[in-house]
Amino acid sequence: MRRRRACASHPSADLAGRVVALSGDIPVLFDAPLASHHKLIGRWVASRETTAKRYTRDQARQHIERVFNKAVLDILGSVEFADLRVVVLQGEGDLPPGIAVICDSMGQLDLGWIEESDAPIPWRAAAYRALEQMLGRALPVFGYQDLFDEISMYYWDGATDDETARQWMIEYQGADPDDTEELTLPSTMEARRPEWMIAANAAALTRLPKRLRQKLHELRKTHGALGRLPPERDAWHFDFEVAYDYIPGIDECSRLPPLTIVPVEQFAREVDDVGRHGMEFGFMDIAGFCPLSDPARIDDWLLSLRTGARFLLAAQDLIQLDPATL
């Protein structure tokens, strides 16, 4: 049975069992003129409109946001292995608006069959090597070498061989010279890498199953397309200095990206160590930042967003591959 509505206006919320209604007669509160970023995106939205619809200012603002959000979600919606979000920022002073692609995921990327299956090591190593080499072009992600470099700077004063590292730990960190068995040294860290992480174990392309070869080819092709975008038109290009003008707060964040391709099962302590600052103050989670002053460039921006999404989908396809079907 439908209950009769007590009020002609639309209920906006149910609070404590009562219907709270806002009358349509009340002019929109908290109203303010459209800011530069709404105007920029709005010009792009207006250029695509075929009817001369009339809006209140608030409706105009919401309409602009809805159309842009839909365009972005149509492109990013199928990327599931990392949560990405797009934010349009209003530039202060003379700065034009800017569009940021932010990565909301944190921690180790799910590597699927590469990490967990019983597929031959040369296949898994080939897939891992490709991801490790390429993913950074779109995602804020760090790999084993970055982790090793961070740990080396932190514990061994940049040393990469055991003897120099051991000496440093004894002289400057008070490690017991007779009991260095327990210390993490460059070689013990290297030795913890599972075989599929080691690039030298990767099979040559010609020795891989056809479907895996196709997935790797698609990854390489889309990665190449992303690399050919001019930086000023690339939604995935990130320059710290440019972004800093818009978001000065990133100065306090860790310079480390929030994602890693290093398996935490083997390197939990090291990943925790290097991620401590980021866990407290935030990671460098911007995948791309693009200042935009011309609404005509928004289509280019969306095209570049799609180019990056294609690359990420190729990576996702590779990770979600079922090795039993190869």
Binding site: C7, A8, I26, P27, P33, V45, Y55, A60, I64
Partner: protein, 74 residues
């Protein structure tokens, strides 16, 4: 409840998207404040004493009501 046609507050202004973007400087000149009742106008007149030239006087302390003495200082 039927919507009153003689509402004191006019409905929000509607424009095309392009008009909002190109010709909106934020001045809400379209908005006319609701008419006040005579009592409200009289109250406003008592709050804001307007000179003959239309400018408001600098605020002065209100005179205390008769019979209410301030306590001696100190």
């Amino acid at each position: 409840m039927a919507r009153s046609t003689s509402t004191a507050i006019p409905p929000a202004v509607r424009k095309s998207l392009a008009e909002w973007i190109e010709h909106d400087d934020g001045n809400t000149t379209d908005f006319t404040p609701p008419a006040c009742s005579r009592q409200a106008q009289a109250l406003h007149a008592r709050i804001l004493i307007v000179d003959s030239d239309g400018r408001g006087k600098a605020p002065r302390p209100l005179a205390p009501p008769p019979g209410l003495r301030l306590p001696p200082l100190g």
